[in-house]
Amino acid sequence: MRHRTPRTPRRNFLRASGVGLALPLLNAFLPRSAAAIEESIPQRLVCICTSLGLHTPFLFPEQAGRDYEPTPYLKLLEEHRGELTVFNGISHPDQSGSDGHSSGMTWLTAARHPGLPGFRNTVSIDQWIAGRIGLETRFPSLQLSTDGSSQSISTSGIMIPGEQSPSKMFAKLFLDGSADEQQSQMQKLREGRSIMDTVFDEAKQFERRVGKEDKLKLAEYYQSVREMEQRLVTAEAWIHKPKPQVDVQQPQDIKERNDLIGQMQLLFELIPLALQTDSTRLITVMVQGRNDVPPVPGVTIDHHNLSHHGQDAEKIRQLRLIEEAQIQSLEKLIADMKRKTEGDRRLLDNTAMVFGSNLGNANAHDTKNLPVLLAGGRFRHGQHLMLDRENNTPLSNLFVQIAQQMGQPLESFGSSTSASVDGLATI
């Protein structure tokens, strides 16, 4: 937000461009980050949040540094030890909010006191970056989700809904519709633009009849109409370009709504595909634990209840089974990201992957000492980075460091106090 490159005013652009717009022309109008021009290989960010937390006694090792003894969860990731950093003592400040889970909406924004009176969410880190590089790909960013929510928050502070269906997302990414479908899609887009044109004019009429603060509210509406137009124009341009082909079948959605692990695995499988085809460079994944029993062998109690284990040994045992299954999915994803290469680098090297939760201790809805792992993205990994568990390092510091590593001129974000996390070196 603070480094906005001046752009051609969108409205003029729309008026001038007409319909059959070709891509190169479109690109000429876009701000391009310095890094993207220098680097031919795109830089990406993937953020995965498991919103019912992780039982951190099973995650955080006792020893700080490189020679830590792996804990139950880290044992599952031992294969990738050298590609992984475990942060201990990192969080967003002032996350007490309207209820125990409201920090779910601020995990990528760092806005303070979510949900309390006067609260207004701010842009999430992925959307800030998408605002700069988003239009270079077919999809500025992707939101994957097991329940339809996401942590991606627009510049106006609104949550962007997540896609729950892996098969729909696959179709969106890789399947070209028939000529008829494309034609009708074009038609719909054109209609959409004509509607937006009309309502924009209607809003002008409407504005004449309202007060001063009302006008500010209406400005949100204008802004939205304009962004809609812009998206429609971009979408039209992309329709003419065939979608990338991948050598993978369209996945079948899992019907059992309680099968959290199965759903997250299917969503995870889309990540390397979407990144390698450069369909997008920013992905957030919301893994929302549910109020029912996931089909994990040995689990008989619903997930949310387990997270409020009340120190009950049996509940903690079952919780561990679910969380281990989640970590195993992550393990598979990291392995996939290592296997795929571009040029002489692995896909993982060009992708910063953040995995963690907005809750440090879900049993007490505590938002300090969050479980956070970082893989890839050309950082010097391999350690358990022990930070101050009393005075936590702002998670925003990590966001700034990642953005900079992606070539984005971001100096501060959210509640950041520094442009890097002490002890985390880049390559």
């Binding site: 400040p93 007490s96 309207s98 209820d99 125990g100 889970h101 006191h113 949900g115 309390l116 009176p117 006067g118 627009s154 106006s156 502070g157 609104i158 949550m159 962007i160 809904p161 209609e191 959409g192 004509s194 509607i195 009309t198 309502v199 209607e202 809003a203 409407f206 009849r209 309202v210 007060g211 001063k212 603060e213 009302d214 500010l216 509210k217 209406l218 949100e220 509406y221 802004q223 939205s224 109409v225 962004e227 809609m228 998206r231 109020n291 029912d292 109690i301 619903d302 949310h304 209840n305 409020h308 009340g310 120190q311 009950d312 049996e314 201790n361 049993n363 007490a364 809805h365 505590d366």
Partner: protein, 892 residues
Amino acid sequence: MSWKKVSAIFPLCVIGVSVAARSLLAAEISGDVKVFLEKHCLECHGAESKQGGLDLSASSVDLSDRATYLRWVRIHDRMQSGEMPPKDSQRPEAEEIKPVLEWLSQTLNADELQRREKNGRSVVRRMNRAEFENTLRDLLDVPWIEVQELLPEDGRADGYTKTAAALDISPVLLAKYGEAIDKALNAAVAKWSVPPEVERHTLYANQQYDYKVLMSGGDAIMLTPEMKYDESRFPMPSASNADGNYPEGKWQFGGKYKGLGEAEKDGVFKEGLTVGMTRTFGESFGGRFNFAPVHPGRYQIGVSAWSYWWDQGEVKPSPRSGSVGVYCGSRLLGFVDAPSLKPTYSELNVEIEPTEENHLRAAGTSFLDAHVYFSQGQIKAYSGAGVAIDKLVVTGPLYDEWPPTSHRRLFGNLPIVPFEKLPPNAPQPARPTTFRQARGAFNGPGRLVPGATVSDDPAGDARRLLATFLPRAFRRPVTDVEVQRYAAIADARGKEGASFEDALLESCRTALLSPDFLFLNEPIGTLDGYALASRLSYLLWNSCPDDALLAAAMTGTLNDPNGLRGAAERLLGDPKADRFYQDFPDQWLDLRDFDLTSPDKQLYPEFQPYLEDAMRCEPREFFKFAVRNRLPASQLLSTPINIVSQRLAEHYGIPGVEGTRFRRVDVDQTTNTRGGFLTMAAVCKVTANGTTTSPVKRGAWVMKKILGQPPQAPPPDVAAIEPDVKGATTIREQLARHREDTSCAGCHAHFDPPGFALESYDVIGGWREFYRATEGKKTPDFARIFRSYLTPEEEFKNHVNFSDGQPVDAGGELVDGRKFTVLREYQALLNSETPVFSRNLTNQLVVYATGAPVSFTDRPAVEEILKRAGGTNPNLNELLHQVIQSPLFLSK
């Protein structure tokens, strides 16, 4: 002016200015105020001690910032109530405080009034998603349409989704609203030139696949019309003939048939008969009937059912009346009665929107967690409660006229011409798939004649139809120019080759995305009739005005107090007012968070869908009763009147209530504290976390929601108490440590007591004397806890796995020293707070009704409402009317 005035006296920390450098003491403050603050406040609320988190020397004075404004209001209020400066300090004289209060009050008022001059009290807002859905339903007459799920959740501000601050607009939201509008418009259009055939079917339970499987598996039996089990006609599978073990050691399909197919071939199910089951929903039993509605619309569904006690082959009277849940897919249509040995036919009239999985389903409701009532394939050896279903009778879709009203709202009386009769080159409307057939349902769409609405004079008809549609959509008269603008869209689409139907829909779609539809627009100052009509209908119906209300706006009736009262009465008497009776308590008391937590199944096995639904309906039924019967406000907190159904009465320990219908039952208040919102199961649930209750959370809820005195958020670094359900410690013991800390004690002394008083109610609102615990040796008196699940011999035979933990102590002491030992005594003490409660209730109604917070400046208006409504304990109906008649409601 105000801003300058404040900052002249507190030239301290305005945003961005270095705060530490200057303090209140160093600043030039003239007159009494400075002297007062220095003398009485700064010692505790200065830069060093910052008690209660308040540092006056670093406090912002930018009153345009909401939080700052509220902080100063709070300071004013604390001083006015005499709470500050505190008792143990040197108290200033009354005449010393007075000018300070006056000055503060003037300053706060001046700022607010200045703001209002330019914009009014409220800010223009869009509809929230419930209003949006209701408005589409009512405007287009498609009452079955469900679009809320498509839309992102609304924010909340001041507790409600009714104010501009809560209702953002984003491109995503706009796109989603667009999808919802498309869906609703598509649903409104009639696609057939003649109405779809009405399906009429009698579906006997024993002929439904799911039930056959249940019977052959030994968890249900066929019953004769004499309500008997006749082994010779309907042999039970051998799997269930065993007294204990299965015949060959494992479950297998049994009886004299090898499989279901063989039994069918032999004609076992040929005659339509009753099925008595011991399983309920959720136990691998879907209860599907082989019919799935294909067309949206009104359906009549009749169910004949009864209950019994199954005793190893014999049908006996049931100790309690049962009930049947009726669903379409996963959507609950309703619960119907199944009295003991008395086949009872009930009818449900429902609006159905077909979805992918939408078989009609019916089965007995369960009382305890599923496995308990499971006869495990051995029904011969089983004794337990059962529900019998005779049949389900379905009729629909039912239309009062064709084309249906929804279609007429858009296309008036234009004819729908069959496709085959259209001229060869005439454009046909592009329509999304119009129906989906559920797998396994025997019914099809029936004979259909697809057709399109045609016009001989597209330009003229578009103008004529839009001139009727737009005023309804925009809730105000429209000008010819406006009609012209929207008609031009249809003209253009028509020229491009679209059908008339598609072209006109394009105009409508555009209108519904425009701010005139999405925003509730109100002129600054006194509202005109139309803006008033919308305020009224969005208050009482959560939706747009109907034609009668718009007519009242046009004639000026609404501008007359009697006319307005009459209109409000009419709206309150309409079934659509249920939306208000549901939504207001939902928002006010946070009851919409009902589903956020699920009770631990081991500890609360009785939390089943039927009970859950009853808990969800009770606040609406109670509030509706209270408003319609003009109960005094204080009865919302404590009353002998309960509005309950059988299941809820059982949950509450109220005897003698039979059936699913909600009705009034008065309890003896000396022995039963149940009655009013405080003891309502839904309230107990939303103030608990699902597994445990916390007096802190409940107490804070009472302070905030009931008394309107929200406690301050805990200091940032206090760790929350970790719940413990093993039963070793009570929450009271854990809290005691917390309260020993003096910095915590000050606030906790205010809000813990009401929480303690409510400790007698568990996380689902059941009465308890002991906490339920997962570990521990003390066996609870199950027969007492689960009175409704006893056998005819009054024994409790089910397996329930929890223990008695620590005993509950519901005593406490209010901050003023008054003590109580049980909830009843606390309620008596709370009674003296009735004026505070009434005022808060009025405030809540005002926020909800006007879409703006009640500010400092609105206080006299609120007092006036209370006065006119009858004082400190007004009757609820009159209070509502006085809110509507107040200047706060009548002007923006």
